[in-house]
């Protein structure tokens, strides 16, 4: 709910002519001054700063022309300037250069429930929030019942907001925001919260707005989500528009950039892990590599791609029956998969290893079975000659890698190679079989 509303109000200085567009940006740019010390900001204000402040352009040279009634996605990594662009469109901050013009009433779901007061009941907060969002008394009265119903809070509506769960909080926030009936709605991944049922309601509401010809701008770093909702996508990178067009064409560009970035990270990460590792140390892992499509070293993968992990080792002392293993974890710590070369139908046995030996252990999967997300790799090197395996070199979180899913063929956590088959028989008796391999 946070939102901003009437651009007719004198304080929103953006009620310029947009022509026939809903949103028009010409050479839009926003820079922030970065000071070495906080005090310099004050000196600068008084005009006595000796060394000029550094300028940081969060956004520059943005040209956008969005026709009314379209649904537009804006994607980019963190720090690409998405939030800054939203703030400029909303009128929360003023551009440093260029122009921005938005036609009609703007509502932004930047942060649901901004300005809720914890001590007050949901009812009181609705009233106050509506006011903050710029509704007048009549509008508040008119929509009050609808907001209460939409939030589905039941008896909780009369309890203090501090007793709400985070899901309820968001529901109340969205209920207020949804009642705004804006001409232009800006959404910042606000929908990724709440339960399935409520998310469905939110999406219905969005579809309603879309059908009634409202303009929707959807901001995300998830290319898949953007693709499913938007016809036109704008790709931001380091504060500039680097691609603009249909969802498919921009998705390709996005992937290319993700690969480039992932590979830069890879060389930076190698061997410098700050995560814990332990073990007796007879054998040490010297390098961990990952390879993707076409055997290229990378840390960015697509679901279903071939996938290979390589562990390089070096033994400094003699040792018996070492076993190498690998654990895959999702960024939130969920243990996705763990394997080693001993616990298999056909185990590989090392036997004894002499000091000075080096080698490479490799494991390969024809198809990466993970869907979009951040993952990390933990490597295990254990001595299995004793009753219970003991660590020789256990390394937590050696590599972080990403799975980027531009095609969005499947949803959830795992990419499963299903085969589809449909058999149809018409009334006349003709039969048809449809099949899909992947």
């Amino acid at each position: 709910m946070n939102a901003s509303h009437d651009s007719q109000a004198p304080r929103a200085q953006q009620a310029k002519d947009t022509g026939t567009s809903a949103i028009l940006c010409r050479g839009l740019g926003k820079s922030y001054r970065i000071y070495d010390k906080p005090m310099h900001r004050l000196w600068d204000l008084m005009g006595v700063l000796r060394k000029p402040a550094r300028e940081f352009w969060a956004l520059r040279n943005v040209y956008l022309d969005i026709p009314p009634g379209s649904t537009v996605g804006i994607i980019g990594e963190n720090g690409a300037g998405k939030s800054t662009l939203l703030k400029l469109l909303t009128g929360i901050t003023q551009p440093t250069e260029g122009e921005v013009a938005v036609r009609g009433r703007v509502a932004s779901l930047l942060e649901l429930g901004a300005g809720f007061h914890p001590e007050f009941s949901g009812r009181d907060n609705i009233r106050l929030n509506c006011r903050v969002l710029g509704m007048n008394e009549d509008e508040v009265e008119q929509r009050f019942a609808g907001i209460v119903a939409f939030s589905e809070l039941g008896d909780f509506i009369d309890r203090p907001v501090k007793t709400y769960s985070s899901g309820m909080y968001v529901r109340l926030g969205f209920a207020v925001a949804a009642s705004l009936e804006p001409d232009v709605l800006l959404i910042d991944e606000a929908l990724s919260v709440g339960d399935e049922h409520f998310r469905g309601k939110c999406i219905n509401r969005l579809n309603q707005l879309r059908e009634s010809g409202k303009t929707i701008v959807f901001v995300s770093h998830d290319i898949g989500a953007v693709k499913s909702m938007c016809q036109w996508v704008v790709l931001l990178d380091k504060g500039e528009v680097v691609g603009q067009g249909s969802a498919e064409s921009v998705a390709d560009e996005y992937l290319k950039r993700a690969h480039a970035r992932g590979n830069v990270q890879m060389s930076a990460l190698r061997g410098t892990s700050t995560y814990p590792h332990w073990g007796s140390g007879e054998i040490e892992l010297t390098e961990v590599e990952m390879f993707g499509h076409g055997g290229k070293a990378t840390l960015v993968f697509q679901p279903g791609e071939p996938f290979r992990i390589r562990l390089h080792y070096k033994a400094s002392k003699d040792c018996v029956s070492p076993v190498f293993g690998v654990g895959l974890y999702r960024a939130d710590g969920t243990y996705v998969n763990g394997v080693n070369h001993l616990w298999r139908e056909k185990p590989i046995q090392f036997g004894s290893v002499r000091a000075g030996e080096t080698g490479v252990v490799e494991l390969e999967a024809p198809r990466l079975a993970l869907l979009q997300g951040q993952y990390y790799l933990t490597t295990f090197l254990y001595d299995h000659s004793k009753a219970a395996p003991t660590a020789i070199d256990h390394r937590e979180h050696v590599l972080t890698f990403q799975v980027v899913d531009a095609r969005r063929l499947q949803h959830g956590l795992l990419y499963l190679p299903y085969r589809w088959r449909v058999e149809r028989k018409s009334a006349e008796g003709t039969a048809e079989i449809l099949e899909s391999e992947s």
Binding site: R11, A12, F120, L128, R131
Partner: protein, 282 residues
């Protein structure tokens, strides 16, 4: 300043809602709510009566009744606390409400104003208790007015001068809001302003004759301290009106009004000129 005033007028309902919310927040969160706002001034009254009147034996006039001394102090305290509360809350209000400023198009000039009004509304309780004290000690218990050395006999009384109370409150509001605008905006440039404000307020409080009579300062030859202290003028005016039923001195109120308007003009000008940068400074 005109843009700021018209924006405040445009958002008057929002200001009122926020004042109402704030007043309720003072009382809703604690179990006994409103009760505290009444109990605190009374408790203050009793404590000051004890400490300053019996232990330290502060007197405004020779042979003055301690209950009268307590009322004089209470009036000063109530006005000062209202002012101090407005100042310290206003200074931090933009930082505290950064959610609104960064995520919503929000008329930030509303914030210092609603804090000022909320504090003044709360002051009415303290002022009411002071008036009750005047009625009780002045008419029921009939405390003797001391035969003053100065020859001017002031006795506790309520008179038509009470009508000037709204004027004093309005001027106080202009003065505090002006300072609130200035310091809330400055605090974004240097967060230490908020901490400095706490120190400055306590120094200022002890430089203002609240717990001691002004003539002690005069006797010490430091009269200039009083002459440059607008809060002294304001508190003395409140005391005349609330305690003795006298009209405030036109000259003093006039000068205070000028200072208040000047402060408001400077504060609102600065606030307005910096306002576009607020979201970037948080």
């Amino acid at each position: 300043m005109r843009a700021l005033l018209s924006s405040l007028f445009e958002h008057r309902r929002l200001v009122l809602d926020m004042v109402r919310r704030d007043l309720r927040a003072r009382y809703v969160g604690s179990a006994m709510g409103f009760f505290w706002s009444v109990v605190f001034p009374i408790l203050n009254l009793v404590v000051y009566m004890f400490v300053f009147s019996f232990v330290l034996e502060t007197r405004w006039e020779d042979g003055q009744d301690p209950r009268m001394v307590a009322l004089i102090m209470l009036t000063g305290i109530v006005v000062w606390q209202t002012f101090a509360e407005t100042m310290s809350r206003s200074t931090n209000t933009l930082v505290e409400n950064q959610n609104l400023i960064q995520k919503v198009v929000f008329p930030s000039e509303v914030l210092p104003v609603f804090l000022t009004l909320s504090a003044l509304a709360n002051m009415l309780i303290g002022a009411g208790i002071a008036l009750l004290g005047v009625v009780y000690f002045g008419y029921v218990a009939d405390v003797d007015a001391a035969p003053a050395a100065s020859g001017v006999v002031r006795s506790l009384a309520i008179g038509p001068a009470i009508l000037s109370l709204p004027v004093l409150m309005l001027l106080q509001a202009i003065f505090s809001a002006g300072l609130g605008f200035l310091f809330s905006a400055l605090n974004l440039y240097m967060r230490d302003v908020y901490h400095l404000m706490g120190v400055a307020l306590s120094v200022w409080m002890f430089l203002t004759p609240i717990f001691y009579p002004a003539n002690m300062v005069q006797k010490a030859g430091l009269e200039w301290v009083l002459k440059i202290n607008p809060m002294y003028w304001l508190i003395e005016s409140y005391r005349r009106v609330l305690l003795y039923g006298l009209w405030p001195q036109v000259r003093i109120v006039g000068v205070f009004a000028l200072v208040a308007l000047l402060v408001f003009a400077i504060g609102s000008q600065f606030f307005q000129s910096q306002k576009p940068r607020f979201p970037d400074l948080l």
